[in-house]
């Protein structure tokens, strides 16, 4: 990893030290290379870590800066004090987020795994099918959510039209629970399963073929081979996929924003499909309470980091 130094006198970088002394030379060049990125990184990834903490200790509204004031840990205390609006909204949305993680992650593992196994067959045109299965991943959350919002409409929606043809009295998908979650999970799975599928497919292709050949000689069935060879060999990748799927599902925002607007509103006033990211958006930018929204962000971030950490511990132990 030695820095490359001009070998002859009068090199264009004006460094003409003997090669043996090159490590002593200070040159500005590397710093100029990293400067543009490091500046933007510091401003938008380093500084916000601290300014976010600072804001979370204040009653803060960017539209009325004169009223901003230091309130210590009050924003955090509110989040953990039953009876406050923040407590109710935050933990309701937290509960919704956990529900969504529980509904979506298993589906986002099982379906991509089955698709990857199918696409791992040595037949013609698998690349075409792989391309088709992956395609929805390139769309925006806006397009995805609008399409499924329309498909799940009670009136004129594709799914209910077919259900009526079959003679089933269809639910009002987006306006009732738990069917609103079904709609959101279906849209999410359609949109993102291709990503998990591609990673699992790459891992499948890395499994040594002679394992299967040996098992075939021993008379193992395909089902046996799937559970005794494929799954164990995929385990590290599966843990990784589960981790990133949990994190992605924790960040749920656009789908309910377009499809349900966080509703349906329950009798208690709680919003049925409002995940925590949506709650942070409303607290910070609809109710203009950026201090409280920052506190919520930090609590969620800590929870997410803990989840990732636990997952990777599991990953390391079994590796």
């Amino acid at each position: 990893m030695a820095r490359i130094v001009p070998q002859r006198e009068g090199g264009a970088t004006a460094i003409s030290m003997p090669a043996t002394r090159k490590k002593r030379v200070f040159t500005l060049t590397p710093y100029l290379f990293i400067l543009p990125h490091l500046t933007l990184f510091a401003l938008f990834f380093g500084y916000p870590f601290f300014s976010g903490l600072y804001v979370s200790l204040h009653q803060y509204n960017y539209l009325r800066p004169e009223a901003n004031k230091f309130i210590g840990l009050d924003n955090y205390i509110n989040l953990f004090t039953p009876g406050t609006n923040q407590f109710r909204n935050f933990w309701n949305s937290m509960g919704n987020t956990v529900q969504f993680v529980i509904y979506s992650v298993p589906v986002l593992i099982v379906i991509p795994l089955l698709l990857a196994v199918l696409l791992n067959s040595k037949v013609k045109f698998v690349n075409v099918f792989r391309a088709i299965y992956f395609a929805p991943w390139v769309l925006s959350v806006a397009v995805t959510s609008l399409i499924w919002w329309w498909i799940f409409q009670s009136q004129g929606g594709l799914i209910n039209s077919y259900l009526r043809v079959v003679g089933i009295d269809p639910p009002r998908w987006l306006a009732t629970l738990p069917s609103a979650w079904v709609a959101i999970v279906v849209a999410t799975v359609w949109w993102t399963m291709g990503f998990n599928m591609i990673i699992l497919l790459a891992a499948l292709q890395d499994i040594a073929k002679d394992l299967y050949e040996a098992a075939t000689v021993d008379g193992a069935t395909k089902i046996q081979m799937f559970f005794r060879i494929t799954i164990p060999m995929l385990q590290p990748v599966l843990v990784f996929i589960i981790t990133i799927s949990i994190i992605a599902s924790f960040n749920l925002f656009g789908q309910p924003f377009f499809m349900t607007q966080g509703g349906p509103v329950q009798g208690s006033g709680d919003r049925g499909t409002e995940p925590v990211m949506y709650q942070i958006y409303r607290e910070g930018f609809e109710r203009n309470n950026q201090g409280s929204a920052s506190a919520m962000s930090f609590v969620v971030a800590v929870i997410m980091v803990i989840i990732s950490y636990v997952n990777f511990r599991v990953f390391r132990q079994r590796d």
Binding site: A2, R3, I4, P6, Q7, G11, A12, T13, K23, Y31, F33, I34, H37, L40, F41, L43, F44, F45, P48, S51, Y62, L115, L118, S121, K122, V123, F125, V126, F129, R130, A131, I132, Y133, P136, V138, L139, S140, V141, A142, V143, W149, W150, I151, Q153, G156, F195, I198, I199, A202, T243, N251, F253, G254, F258, F285, S294, F298, V300, V305, F312
Partner: protein, 294 residues
């Protein structure tokens, strides 16, 4: 090609019954593959079909997969409506995605080369610090970055929409890996010939990294084109919004005008689908490499 490879498996022993079974398995497999492909493509087809339906054909008793009177009225209606300036949104999305892509490539390539090849005090510690932020949830940066953009007076502007994304670490990490695979001898030779660090970087290293730059460029463009939450917060005026944010305005501006909304969705979807069809290899490769990073 692959079918031939499978052929030897049906050996003489199993040939009498084996070939029949193999063929049957193959037919089953293809049927399954095709059915799944159709299920995945149906929502896109429905989006497109809805967008060319006249309003009176939207709510039929049985779903109609082709309108009796196909029409472009929905497209004309949203294109000619000043409250839903979809053409402007398209241009805004394109300009923001293009500028973001060019700047990310330039900034990240410079930094990645330094972290991969140049020697300076604290290099590896600094890079480890950058990497660590990849594991931090993005949502914790949203509120403070919004306040920073506001303090800089950049709310409601393209720079406000573009700047925070340029500090991201993924591109630096991604390109650094490729720079490390280039044989050092090439750069040393360039130095001997009198090239300075920047010349070596731009004339020798960059041309060798074109596939990686293309991959990063495509995913950066797609991510920017599709980004929703950040432009939703920053771009308040309709005239400077991007397509995904505009689609929300479109959804709010009409009730039950699903033809119009699907026309808007088609306009937002077609460019990325075209890019995807043209550069599928790069996109799939980048998905794998971004997945393997963990």
């Amino acid at each position: 090609m692959a079918v031939k490879a499978a052929a030897p498996a049906s050996t003489a022993v199993g040939r009498r019954v084996g070939i029949g079974r193999k063929t049957l398995e193959l037919i089953l497999l293809y049927t399954l593959l095709v059915v799944i492909a159709m299920i995945i493509l149906l929502p896109l087809a429905w989006m497109f079909v809805t967008s060319i339906k006249p309003k009176n054909e939207l709510f039929t008793r049985d779903p109609q997969w082709w309108p009796n009177n196909p029409t472009l009225d929905n497209y004309q209606a949203i294109l000619n409506n000043p409250t839903t300036p979809i053409f402007t949104w398209f241009i805004n999305s394109f300009v923001i995605a293009a500028i973001t892509t060019v700047l990310v490539l330039a900034i990240d390539a410079l930094a990645a080369y330094a972290y991969a090849r140049l020697e300076f005090a604290g290099r590896d510690k600094l890079f480890a610090l950058l990497l660590a932020t990849l594991f931090l949830p993005g949502l914790m940066f949203v509120v403070p970055n919004f306040l920073t953009i506001n303090a800089l007076g950049l709310l409601n502007s393209f720079p406000g929409a573009i700047l925070p994304g340029l500090g991201g670490v993924f591109g630096v990490f991604f390109l650094r890996q490729f720079f490390q695979t280039i044989p050092k001898e090439l750069e040393e030779a360039a130095f001997i010939d009198g090239a300075n660090t920047f010349q070596t970087f731009s004339k020798i290293v960059l041309p060798l990294t074109k596939p990686a730059l293309a991959t990063l460029g495509i995913i950066t463009f797609l991510a920017s084109w599709n980004d929703f939450l950040w432009p939703l917060l920053i771009l308040k005026d309709r005239a400077i919004q991007t397509l995904p944010v505009g689609l929300r305005s479109l959804q709010g501006a009409y009730t039950s005008e699903y033809g119009l909304m699907m026309a808007g969705a088609v306009i937002a979807a077609v460019p990325v689908l075209v890019i995807y069809i043209l550069s599928q290899r790069f996109i799939v490769a980048s998905a794998i490499s971004s997945g393997v990073k963990g």
